[in-house]
């Protein structure tokens, strides 16, 4: 049975995010001891999610003394804007900081809780939150070497053309998901071609800044360095995965490199937990309960010295 939820304390508020207004919802604790900024995954509208898991989480955490703010990302849920895809390399930290401004007791210790793409946004926003004392990275996606978009950079035009006229490739144009990959591929190919034809043409300043940010945010070393910086600040970090998450495999694979070193060095501050199920799509009630219980339990623990 789902625990009874009440919206009595919830306060919806439109706030300014990174790219425009967002709908944020504040769930104030009666006598708050801390704050939580919830950066949920993008697919289900950040402030609600499947089976309103985020609503349940916020109300339960608030009942335990932490004021929670949750929000819909720019272009998703109830927030204005238009986005075609969520991009891991463009995480929207401005939305996180905009929502955090709604917290009435900004001086209290603050936790960031991110899910999937929300973890990247939380990480990007973390340096700008001076009261941050812990960060939960749930189903944290790491860069993979086999990203489909990289292929566009690797293969030549002749190979692309040869592969593109195969019957199976032509059939793909009739499937929306495959078609989107093709369009993305063609766009990247076109960009690569344009760059080659105009080697001296400098990108517009905004585009250049975006490109640099994109390149750095998508890099494993940079992500690990961001987390290491937090650990060095004495901030507690929780990595929580479902054993069915694709990101868990990425996390295991990445431990051969700098991530493994960080986990060893920061053992006093870093907790890694794995629960059965899928903490990206939350495709079962059990995985939703696991998320709520594990993160709530971790928030209850005292921060490391």
């Amino acid at each position: 049975m789902t625990e009874a939820l009440t919206a009595a304390a919830d306060v919806p508020e439109y706030v300014e995010g990174g790219d425009g207004p967002l709908l944020a919802i504040l769930t104030p604790a009666e006598n708050p001891v801390a704050n939580v900024v919830m950066c949920a995954g993008g697919w289900h509208g950040g402030s609600v999610n499947a089976n309103r898991m985020v609503v349940q989480f916020a109300r339960r955490v608030a009942a335990a003394g932490r004021t929670v703010v949750r929000f819909d990302w720019h272009g998703a849920g109830e927030s204005p804007g238009h986005i075609r895809f969520f991009r891991l390399d463009d995480p929207g930290s401005g939305d996180v900081l905009g929502a955090a401004k709604l917290l009435p007791d900004a001086g209290l210790p603050t936790a960031l809780v991110g899910i999937c793409i929300g973890t990247r946004a939380a990480l990007a926003a973390a340096p700008s939150l001076p009261t941050l004392d812990r960060i939960a990275l749930v189903s944290f996606p790491l860069p993979t070497a086999r990203a489909k978009t990289k292929r566009a950079e690797r293969i030549g035009a002749a190979t692309a053309l040869r592969e593109g006229i195969r019957p199976s490739a032509i059939r793909g144009w009739f499937q929306p998901a495959t078609r989107r990959v093709y369009v993305k591929f063609l766009r990247l190919k076109w960009q690569a071609l344009t760059r080659r034809l105009k080697p001296t043409g400098a990108a517009a300043p905004n585009e250049e800044a975006r490109r640099r940010a994109t390149a750095s945010a998508h890099d494993l070393e940079t992500l690990v360095a961001q987390i290491a910086e937090l650990v060095d600040r004495g901030i507690d970090v929780l990595f929580l995965f479902g054993d069915q998450d694709a990101s868990y495999e990425q996390f295991l694979a990445a431990q051969d490199g700098p991530l493994g070193e960080l986990l060893e060095r920061g053992a006093a501050n870093i907790t890694v937990e794995v629960v059965p199920g899928d903490l990206t799509g939350y495709s079962s009630l059990v995985s939703q309960t696991a998320f709520i219980e594990r993160v709530t339990g971790w928030l209850e623990r005292p921060v490391s010295a």
């Binding site: 789902t2 009874a4 697919w43 609600v48 089976n51 849920g77 204005p80």
Partner: protein, 309 residues
């Protein structure tokens, strides 16, 4: 050319609190959105009201589908709210008790409860606008909620987005989605009689991370959609089918014929789209409003403006 989902997506600014409470956004065109709660006898309902730049010409209540379907439909309904308000309507969207940001638990959901929520919102929007009639737009199971609620508000129009015409088939689709979800996770499930016994005993079943309440199943499985439409009385009624096939489905055709015999004309339109209602978690697609389904929005705006879509 600007697509409908982009037309009003930018140009918004926060503007404090709106009349009747709630937090407000204003668009450069003059339309606004107000998010807040509506207190009812049964609990607090989360609502978003979309208001026109000038005096409202129509009052519209949007009844969402449930569970995963509500997530799939949410952004489309938001864009509908923007577009209808740009066309001069005050539009109220809401979360049912037990869903989204509202009070309650899903286990307590019943069909009458959903209708009571829609009715409470309709009374509020009617009071706010002072208009004599209220139009209803409903999607999937929400279409049946809209039809039942509309029976309390004579004279307005009723627009049904992809309404189920046979509840048995509707729930078979839901159970099939559940089974696919379980197979994907490598789990097995009881089927048939065993499943239904467990459903009745536990009060809820997990459909790909969505708790389908037995109380809702029990109070909707026996509904006759034709009876609901006939009870809503003579009024402009329009069904919008979302399908890759242009022909109106046999189930919907039969329903329309049955209503016609009872003196209730129902128009039907098909928009080219195939919605994977229960598989929101498996792809990116509902971040953007898919192009085919977008046709449902101007069609609805045209219907409510009294034009032929």
């Amino acid at each position: 050319m600007e697509t409908i989902d982009r037309r009003l997506a930018s140009g918004w600014s926060t503007s404090g609190n709106g009349a009747h409470g709630g937090t407000m956004l204003t668009h450069e065109s003059g339309i606004s959105s107000v998010a807040g709660f509506l207190d009812t006898k049964r609990g607090r309902l989360f609502t978003v009201r979309h208001r026109p730049a000038g005096e409202p010409k129509r009052a519209v209540v949007v009844c969402s589908p449930i569970l995963a379907e509500a997530i799939r439909s949410q952004r489309r309904e938001l864009v509908l709210g923007w577009e209808l308000s740009a066309a001069g309507a005050t539009v109220a969207r809401f979360h049912y008790l037990g869903a989204g940001n509202s009070d309650g638990t899903p286990e307590a959901m019943t069909f009458d409860g959903l209708v009571a929520d829609a009715t409470a919102v309709a009374h509020a929007v009617q009071e706010e606008t002072g208009l004599p009639t209220v139009d209803f737009v409903g999607t999937r199971l929400g279409a049946l909620v809209a039809a039942a609620a509309a029976a309390h508000f004579p004279g307005g129009s009723l627009v049904l987005w992809e309404p189920p015409t046979d509840l048995g088939r509707y729930y078979n689709e839901v159970f099939r989605a559940r089974m696919i979800g379980l197979l994907k996770r490598g789990e097995r499930s009881a089927g048939g009689k065993d499943l239904m016994e467990a459903f009745a005993r536990d009060g809820v079943i997990d459909v790909i991370g969505n708790p389908l309440p037995y109380s809702l199943y029990e109070t909707t499985i026996g509904l006759d959609v034709g009876d609901l439409l006939v009870a809503a009385g003579p009024r402009p009624m329009h069904a919008i089918q979302m399908s890759v096939k242009p022909d109106i489905r046999p189930g919907l055709t039969t329903l329309i014929e049955r209503c016609a015999k009872a003196g209730i004309p129902v128009e039907a339109t098909s928009v080219h789209y195939d919605e994977a209602w229960w598989f929101g978690a498996s792809g990116y697609t509902f971040v953007e409003v898919e192009s085919g389904a977008l046709e449902a929005i101007p069609a609805t705006v045209a219907i409510l403006a009294g034009e032929t879509p």
